[in-house]
């Protein structure tokens, strides 16, 4: 591990144990005799008390203790209570399990609302368009020593490196990719580039995630972009309406067609039936007629005359004067038309 203490002292033990050792040695020097008599043991106790008071520190469960003695790193401390040599030793407590997070392109205000920051968010795409990216970088401290001591202003460094990385990646994408299908790819590539940069700096940082929060066209053109989506919808709508029209028209037409055919069939059938009926009637009459022509003919005639003569008005004029008199006969009647079928001789 890179934070094993090194230096002239070799492997240094925890001073806590060392103190106990010293205390025991002092006790051993006075076998049998009363321990707390005299000024020397009291002085030792006072010194020990000060030691513990000034040198006590606790490492929280998500932290790691890094101890410097005279500016030199000598050991690390696991979570729990520890002692350091006051004034001489200095302790740093980086949170090594915490997922730290940096916002790029926006800030979340205290109210929880995300506000885009144009200078950070707007960047140029590969096809010379401009897009607004809002993203979050998540990282962990992977090496406490590197993180604490290798890079000055590590926080801003991570942020700048992220900005450089995302712009590098976006510079090779088309705007439509960035807005739609390319997001996962962009996140991955940015993470790779960013990790490479930070490893080159030996920053002791592990990037756990790059997450795109929001990818939008710049505000100035946002409505134009939205309109494209609307236009796509409009296109769908027009086509669907046309299909609807078709789905209405064709079945109706088929119905109409079927009806025409049915009516024709019905007509034909009726026609034939009627013909058959009339023909049969005639044939029956004919059959009768053929038995006794004269009688039948007379019968039919008389029946007909009976039927007609009763109703019609008859004027019978001698043929010799008919032509001279006819024009003067009052043939027309109120509201009634003159007889059809009259014969002028």
């Amino acid at each position: 591990m890179s934070w094993e203490p090194r230096g002239p002292g070799g492997n240094m033990e925890d001073p806590f144990a060392k103190i106990l050792q010293e205390f025991q040695k002092i006790l051993k020097k006075r076998p049998g005799g009363p321990v707390f008599k005299g000024w020397k043991p009291i002085l030792v106790l006072v010194i020990i008390g000060l030691f513990i008071w000034k040198g006590f520190y606790i490492v929280a469960p998500d932290e790691q203790g890094v101890v410097l003695r005279f500016g030199e790193m000598v050991r690390t401390s696991a979570p729990g209570p520890h002692l350091k040599i006051p004034m001489i030793e200095e302790v740093f407590l980086p949170k090594i399990t915490k997922l730290h997070r940096i916002e790029i392109g926006f800030r979340t205000s205290r109210g929880g609302i995300a506000q885009m920051i144009p200078q950070e968010a707007l960047m140029v795409t590969g096809d010379e368009n401009i897009v607004a990216m809002e993203l979050i970088v998540q990282f962990r401290i992977k090496d406490a020593r590197e993180f604490l001591f290798n890079v000055a202003d590590i926080g801003p460094t991570i942020k700048k490196s992220t900005e450089a990385s995302i712009r590098q990646v976006i510079g090779q994408k088309r705007i439509d990719e960035a807005l739609t299908v390319g997001k996962a790819q962009i996140q991955q590539e940015t993470q790779i580039v960013l990790q490479q940069i930070l490893d080159e700096y030996e920053a002791g940082v592990q990037i756990t995630a790059v997450q795109l929060q929001d990818v939008d066209p710049p505000e100035a053109v946002a409505s134009a972009f939205k309109d494209v989506a609307s236009a796509k919808e409009d296109k769908e709508k027009l086509i669907n309406e046309a299909h609807g029209y078709r789905n209405d028209l064709i079945p109706k037409a088929k119905g109409e067609a079927a009806q025409m055919v049915n009516e024709a069939q019905a007509y034909a059938e009726a026609r034939v039936r009627r013909a058959e009926g009339e023909a049969n009637r005639f044939l029956r009459t004919l059959k009768e007629y053929q038995q006794a022509k004269g009688i039948i003919r007379k019968r039919i005639y008389i029946e007909t005359m009976e039927a007609i003569m009763g109703d019609i008005e008859k004027v019978i004029i001698d043929s010799r004067i008919a032509g001279q008199v006819l024009p003067f006969l009052p043939l027309g009647r109120d509201g009634l038309t003159p007889a059809r079928g009259k014969e002028n001789r």
Binding site: G7, L68, G71, E72, M73, Q119, L122, M123, V124, E128, I130, F149, N150, K160, R167, I197, Y201, P217, P218, V221, D227, V228, A231, K232, D234, E236, L238, A242, Y245, R246, L249, I250, A253, E256, A257, V261, E263, A264, Q265, R271, V272, E276, A279, T285, L286, Y289, Y301, E303, I308, D311, I312, K314, I316, D318, S319, A322, R333, R340, G341, E343
Partner: protein
Amino acid sequence: MSKQGLIGIIVVSILILLIIGASPFFVVDIIETAIVVQLGKPVRTITEPGLKFKIPFIQEVIRFDKRLLDYDSEPQDVVTGDKKTLVIDNFAKWRIVEPLTFYEAFRTERTARARLDDIIYSELRVDLGQHDLSEIISQNRSEIMAKVTKRANEKALEYGIEILDVRIKRADLPEQNEKAVFRRMQAERGREARRYRSEGAEEAQKIRSQAEKEKEILLAEAYKTQQELMGEGDAKAFRIYAEAYGQDAEFFEFVRSMEAYKKVLGKNTRVVLTPDSEFFKFIQQDK
């Protein structure tokens, strides 16, 4: 003098020195390098941290940050190879590797930063001026940055500085160009939107007229079938009539005429007849 006595004198001397503030001790922190200067002349370079000794009063310690330092200047305009302007915001990571050389060149970090500005910016301008705008933004970005880093580093070495990385944080278009780009983007999207809509209208039109054509064909076919069927029906009916009436055409004429008279001559008919009219033909004959 006894050994204990000697130790006592040393301890007391050190305490006195500490009290008057002329400590012989100094600490070099883990993030520092230091040089010890004696009467204005550097005599020693210290690169490892820890507790160190110096001669009080005569020697003084000058410290330098050992870490990777940040250089970030204001965004500046750079002209590209194809005569376009980019606003470049770059940063660089650098270290002091030779404290002595650095000290002799600069004395302070602030002076150093001014020199860094020169080195880095001039190198950046030269390299970017050799590439087109699109190369800088996309294809050759990392290559260009690597080249600038290398060249700048070569220049910086003589000052005891290592330039580890020069990176373009932002490469943006100047404001007017930005506006022009926005206009172009809008126009492009406008064309796209129009295209979708007209495609939709065209497609819809096709579907509709296709449907109407089909309808017409359906109805025309049906009409044809209708006429055929009716014709067949008529023909069949005629055949039946012909067959039946043909058996005695004259009788048919007689019977049919009788029926016609029945129908035609009804209540409100006035008939003017002469005795020798066709109508009475039968009367007279059948007297």
